[in-house]
Amino acid sequence: MSVRTYDLVHRTTYEYAQPVTDSYGRTTLTPRDLPDQRVLATSLTVDPAPADTGEHVDWFGNTTTYFGVTRPHTRLVVTARSTLEVSRTVPPRAALPDVGWRAVARAVTAGDLGLLRTDAAGLVTLREAVLPSAHVTFVEEVRDWAAPSFADERPLADVVTDLLHRVRAELTYRSGSTTVSTTQAQLLAQGAGVCQDFAHLMIAALRVHGVPARYASGYIETRPRPGRPKLRGADASHAWVSVWLPGHGWLDADPTNDQLVDDRYVVLGWGRDYHDVPPLRGVIFTEGGGATPRVEVDLVPAGSEPFV
């Protein structure tokens, strides 16, 4: 089994025209330690230095960090640095169980722990993962769009593969085409969005059919075209979907790139949708306006020239 080691830097910079007296923030920028993803080192720095910080493991098990900067500033920089080993491999289709999506949905309703291959606490998690959430709503448009993928006795693994193909084939990736408040119905109507939209759409399609699905936040390594140097700091945050496949567990699937998640991905955390795990959210106090953040992500093999 191959292991890939990464150095990861995620830096967000806000520059304000007028002073901000206080900045309060919460980050979900610490990668999760998982069987196929070991965190060797991780740190978070905030500049100016916060008067107060606090770490907290949230409802979903993600490590989040609170900070409060309480002296006036015109620039806020939040930098997360980690070194990790990723050994994730994509299971071949033959290795995935053939359980049908409808059987899974029925088992969630009935609380059939045997079929679901989980325990009582796990059932609570799965019941939560079939409910609508802040950004995932149950509307006719999603039901209609998803229906062709949910043929009656289809194995759930094939439903997932089909949804991945269809998102990639039927929707266009267009940066800036959506905002945090774009709904799935709007996304389908305009036919374009970004990775969070695609993740939300696929989650909605699964949940509306009673299949547990959650939202994953993380990164994907970009590789330069052959012969071109890698552009530093130009990697990206990313979002995808986890589906509960009884007998396998949570299966991570990336509708933006129509593939299952492998060792080119780094997982930060997961939740019901984007609302539960934004990398950074905050509140500022100022007489002036806000600022558009500048974001740099650098995901490179460990030992590369450091990104500063």
Partner: protein
Amino acid sequence: MRQTARVTDLLSSPRLLGDGTTIAHRPDWAWLPPGAAPTDADLTRAGRQAEQLLAGHGVTYGADRADSDHHWRLDPLPVVVDEPEWARLDAALVQRAELLDAVLHDLYGARRLLDDRVLPPTAVLSHPGFLRPVDGLRLPGGRELVLTATDLVRDASGEWCVLADRTQAPSGAGYAMEDRRVVAQVLAPVYRQASIARLGPFFHALRKALVEVAPPTAGDAPRAVLLSPGPGSETAFDQAYLASMLGLPLVEGSDLVVRAGRLFLQGIDGLEPVDVVLRRVDAEWCDSLELRAGSRLGVPGFVHALRRGTVSVVNPLGASVLENPALLGYLPRLARAVLDQDLTLASAPTWWCGEERALRHVLGRLDRLVVKPTVHGPRTTTVLGWTLSVAEREELAARIAAEPWRWVGQEPVGPVLADDDGPRAAVMRTFAVAHAGTYTVMAGGLARVADDAVVTSSAGASAKDVWVLASQPAEPDAAVREDVAGAGGRAVGYGISPRAAENLYWMGRYAERAEDGVRVLRAVADRWDDYHRSPGSAGGRALEVLLTALTPAALADGAQAAQPADADAAHVVPRPPALRDLLLDQGTPGSVARAVRRLASSAATVRDQLSTDTFGPLARIERTLRDERTRVRARQQSGGGLDVGPVPPGSVTAGLRPTLDRVLESLLAISGIAAEGLTRDVGWHLLDAGRRLERAQRLVAMLQATLVVRRPGDVEDLLLESVLLAAESAITYRRRHQRGADVASVLDLLVHDRTNPRSLAFALDRLLADLEAVPAPRSAAQRDHLLHGVADLVAELDTVAVGNEVSEDGRRVRLADALGSMLWRLREASDEIERVHFVRPAPSRALDDLWGSTYGDPGEGGER
């Protein structure tokens, strides 16, 4: 007060009619000594008195506004419950509170109950009141549910039955106390003959409960605040009343800040730690960082401080998950699982549609059930199934089937009424507080009745007091004094935020502005009555000066009036002045009505700092102005038909004088309460400083407008007389000076005389003393420099010289210079006071979201 609501009694201990099966719903006074029962006439009179008392106390339901119909309605006929029945209810309510507390404990802890055999997980997970960010947090003292309220009805057999539990931030305890105060007064003869359980012990227990939950960091005397959404809240009265009864500062989210993991109140004298928050803000709104983004009602970092264990909040964030009506059906099962007891108090039979069998049951009986969403939203409210058309029922069924976990069906529960009684509903809210290891139930509650199928205060339900007949007589003075549950000593200035400070200061200013406005109008109206028919006379010319100088807004062309009056200009005022608008019309700049409205709004935000007596006169002024407006409108419509042209000159002041007098009387009452009814704390000094500054500014402006231009002797005599009247110094002047008025001695009295409370010198002395007593978080040097500058100008003013030194164009130039200089300094000083004392935090906003911004065009490898 509708008569029908009074004669039906749906909540008192049931009494059976002759055949022994039907319950009587007529008031029953059999428990009183013979002849003591109030007659219908007594009750009608009591109702009227109650209405007056409630208006006088400023008791409202709904946000503060001028022409509001949001007066709290009270039906004086109490709900009467026998002690044995109440004792059973009390025990049942304690059991229920203990059960809910245990459930809350589990839901944010071990979650052993989240099991299909006890409580289906989805019922909890789908409820927005289940706040994941506060999972695992614990309140010191062993309880999670500190304050709970229960809405109860009588069922057909006369038994109590729960409709809903209120666990978020229950309202109504303050209203219940106020209802008791009023009913005890208007039904005094009856009240005195009965042994009625007191409400006081509940409030004592609540005070102690707030101490019991204080974090270990709090020390011996925990500091608690009541967090309010602000005066725009529907139950603002209830909140302010409770705060002052418990002796807690009434604060808003913008008054608080989190620093170094602790919650602080941003007082006018710096940060003051807060240990306990009694909240009336819904949990989701309490922290714009961790909970609802964009909320201005809470404090970013509040949840962080809670996690640090440095502050406690009552009820804990997340407690509203217990309000989910889906739980009602599971409570009997939960009681056996958690308490190993049978649940004594029944709930209305309720089916949660998240379970398939329940869903089928509800969908099959939609026409007979009350259908409730598990949480109310803009498009989802309670529906009475039998009121729907077939089509509407089908639509509702489709909505339920799509998201069944969002709905419950509830059996309608209520007393059996004779057909001719019409729709009628009555609900009683009880209150319980965790204290000393158990729960203390208020021996009484808040009953509400409506001539409707449902009871809502916003739709005009009437409240009723709830009397629990005690076997032991209450303390003799209990009835009158029982509202003073606490109000222990509070450190000087503690709990006064810059927001409260600013409102107190502006209250003082608006009170003075209104009072001065009334006096000026009186002086001008007198001259109008005497001289408007003889424009060419000395009186007519004095009138013209007064109108343009003091009441320019009443003239048709305000711009022209703003210029100094030209002594040789035309003598006839083209249109009769709209003096009445300056009294009644809130839209007219500088009107009394506008100052009064702002006075009332400022007062509403600092209700906890004020004596309740303040609100009586305030309500009376607003009523007087409203009545007069109505009268004028009626007269215009009946007299002038559609053409409401200018009022004939003769009626410019018709009816004005009595209204002015009535308004002034109430304004004097307000200033009297401030002078005699408030302790000289920081709040009082701010109030007084506002009044003094306003008076100084208005006095100087009046002198500038009237005395700078020299007029012929006979005109000036009349002018000076009016100035003295408007400055409330005419009598003093006459006593001191036998002859008519002259400029120098008028200036002496109004500018120099330190013994005259209406003089500039007096106002400055007081203003400086007041400001001295108020903490100044920023340097006050500039403020003091300006004010001392005014004092110096006052001292230097040679009243004889400035009166006599007149330029060629007829102006008293030195007087003009001096007054102009004073006015400029006073206005600058006012800005400085704002800057020094009312430093409010900058507005907050959410950081721009990272959505999309990190996901540029697909990178070089084409993968994203």
